[in-house]
């Protein structure tokens, strides 16, 4: 052993051995430290990767939504043009049996326009504007026309309120999506009831269906959507994509109304409520919505009195309705060729021209009618 101890080779070997042991220890310690660092780094990298993926998704979603928005707005424009053509055709061939298929095409057009506008809304856009306010009743009927099973919807109330022009189509789309949701989650043949409830500083549109209702989880998801807490991107709508509630939530955020689906309808289904604030409402007189003028028909008189703006039920009149012309005063005892309808007494200046004209027309028509009666000899000679 001593000989080994004196052998420098031994010492050099021993040194190498010790060194290598020390190195191994150091390396393993370092490895452990590194492993810890690596785990941290890995977690960081994973987080970064996730973030990057999200960013990419957002950027992609952003790019896609720019493209989609534009495309959908164009589709909406085309649908609107098609609708104008259909309106014309429906009037022109109103008495023809082609009207029924025309109405069906119109119905398809309405659903198509709704989907195009819905996607445009999700992409941050909107398209089309109206010039005139529309009654809440008409806005709901507009929504009704946009869903496939429109005849299941029953609107129980009419209201004196109108929706301001800028919000007409936004509110109509939101109501349409809620109606569509109600229709697809309730048995066919059941009624979807719409009621109006005036509230402090606004008006509620209440939509009740007779479906199975929503699960707690679904209600929570909807509440998160409607509160604006959760705003899904285009890629998060699922497959097949669920447009309805996200579209409603986005419209509510943009137009400033409130939506709630957390309560249960009287029939155990969903009760959806849209609360319109007074900023979206007006009591402005609602103009006649028809673009068709009846000016070709001579009106009774130029100075006719303006129609009162409210009906007896407090509903705004559609307005611009012209007094009927060429009316015969209701002949109670019809077929007797006696004296013509009572002439308008000059003591009624308030009822003026239109009445006078109507009475004249009545007298005229009564006269021609008298002339067309088969001759009844016993009455001859009693005239005048």
């Amino acid at each position: 052993m001593a000989s080994y101890a004196q052998d420098p080779a031994f010492w050099s070997l021993a040194a190498v051995a010790l060194g290598s042991v020390g190195l191994t220890v150091r390396v393993s310690l370092k490895a452990k430290r590194q492993e810890k660092g690596l785990t941290e780094k890995l977690a960081q990298a994973e987080a970064k990767a996730e973030e990057a993926a999200r960013e990419v998704q957002e950027v992609t979603d952003g790019k896609i939504s720019t493209v989609l928005k534009s495309a959908m707005q164009t589709l909406r424009l085309l649908a609107a043009e098609q609708q104008v053509k259909l309106d014309e055709l429906q009037r022109e061939y109103g008495g023809h049996k082609i009207l029924q298929p025309l109405l069906e095409v119109n119905h398809a057009n309405a659903q198509f326009a709704r989907r195009a506008l819905g996607i445009a809304v999700l992409c941050g856009g909107f398209s089309g504007r109206r010039k005139e306010p529309a009654s809440v009743y008409d806005v709901i009927r507009s929504a009704q026309g946009q869903i496939s099973q429109f005849d299941r919807v029953k609107i129980r109330d009419q209201s004196g309120f109108a929706v301001v022009p800028s919000a007409v189509d936004g509110v109509a789309l939101a109501v349409a999506e809620l109606l569509a949701n109600a229709a697809s989650y309730s048995p066919p043949g059941t009624t979807i009831e719409v009621n109006l409830q005036p509230v402090q500083r606004g008006l509620c549109i209440v939509i009740d269906d007779a479906g199975v209702g929503m699960s707690e989880e679904a209600k929570q998801r909807a509440a998160a959507l409607f509160s604006g807490e959760y705003r899904p991107g285009l890629s998060e709508l699922g497959n097949p994509p669920q447009f309805g509630f996200p579209v409603v939530a986005e419209l509510a955020r943009r137009f400033g109304f409130h939506t709630d689906v957390s309560t249960t309808s009287p029939w155990g289904g969903v009760r959806a409520i849209v609360r319109l604030p007074e900023t979206l409402l007006t009591t402005e007189r609602i103009e006649r919505r028809s673009t068709l003028t009846v000016d070709a028909v001579p009106h009774s008189a130029p100075g006719e009195q303006p129609a009162s703006e409210r009906t007896v039920n407090g509903l705004p009149k559609r307005g611009a309705r012209k007094a009927p012309i060429a009316l015969v005063r209701t002949p109670r005892v019809d077929d007797r060729p006696t004296a013509p309808a009572e002439p308008a007494t000059p003591a009624e200046p308030a009822e003026q021209d239109s009445r006078v004209t109507a009475a004249r027309m009545a007298a005229f028509q009564q006269g021609t009618r008298t002339g067309r009666q088969p001759i009844v000899p016993s009455q001859e000679g009693q005239e005048s």
């Binding site: 534009s70 707005q73 424009l77 609107a80 609708q83 259909l86 309106d87 429906q90 009037r91 109103g94 008495g95 023809h96 009207l99 029924q100 109405l103 069906e104 119109n106 119905h107 309405a110 398209s127 089309g128 504007r129 109206r130 529309a134 009743y137 008409d138 009927r141 507009s142 009704q144 026309g145 429109f150 005849d151 129980r156 109330d157 009419q158 007409v168 189509d169 006649r288 919505r289 028809s290 673009t291 009846v294 028909v297 009906t311 039920n313 559609r318 309705r321 012209k322 009927p324 060429a326 009316l327 015969v328 005063r329 209701t330 109507a358 009545a362 028509q365 002339g371 067309r372 088969p374």
Partner: protein, 124 residues
């Protein structure tokens, strides 16, 4: 292509015609010919259940008789839609309809001849 595409005016009817009739089947032309005359009955309408279009038809006809085609002209609605609304109103007994005013009956030729003959005999 953004602002111009998005900012167009919607000129189409807000309420689609099939909603106005609530999908009711369109009645045949024979049921309400264009010259059929319509007037209101004395039944008080329940205005809660009437659409504004039906109410406006009742208003239009409240002064006397109005023909189906005139109602279509005044309301601006397609004729078939007016017919469907009239069918519903008639079912609820809110309107009466009358056949169009008959054209003048041709006079009895024999009678005219006899009158002429009598006149001649007396004055000629």
């Amino acid at each position: 292509m953004t602002t111009e595409d998005a900012d167009f005016e919607l000129r189409g009817e807000l309420v689609r015609p099939y909603v106005i009739t609530n999908g009711r089947e369109l009645p045949s032309e024979r049921e309400f010919s264009v010259t059929t005359l319509v007037t209101v009955t004395d039944e008080a309408p329940n205005s809660r259940v009437l659409s504004p279009e039906s109410r406006s038809i009742l208003d239009l006809c409240s002064g006397g008789y109005l023909s189906v085609v005139e109602i279509a002209g005044h309301t601006g609605l397609p004729l078939g839609i007016v017919r469907a609304l009239l069918a519903e109103l008639a079912e609820n007994k809110l309107i009466w309809t009358r056949a169009p005013v008959p054209s003048a009956e041709s006079a009895d030729k024999q009678l005219l001849k006899e009158v002429l003959h009598g006149l001649r005999r007396r004055f000629a």
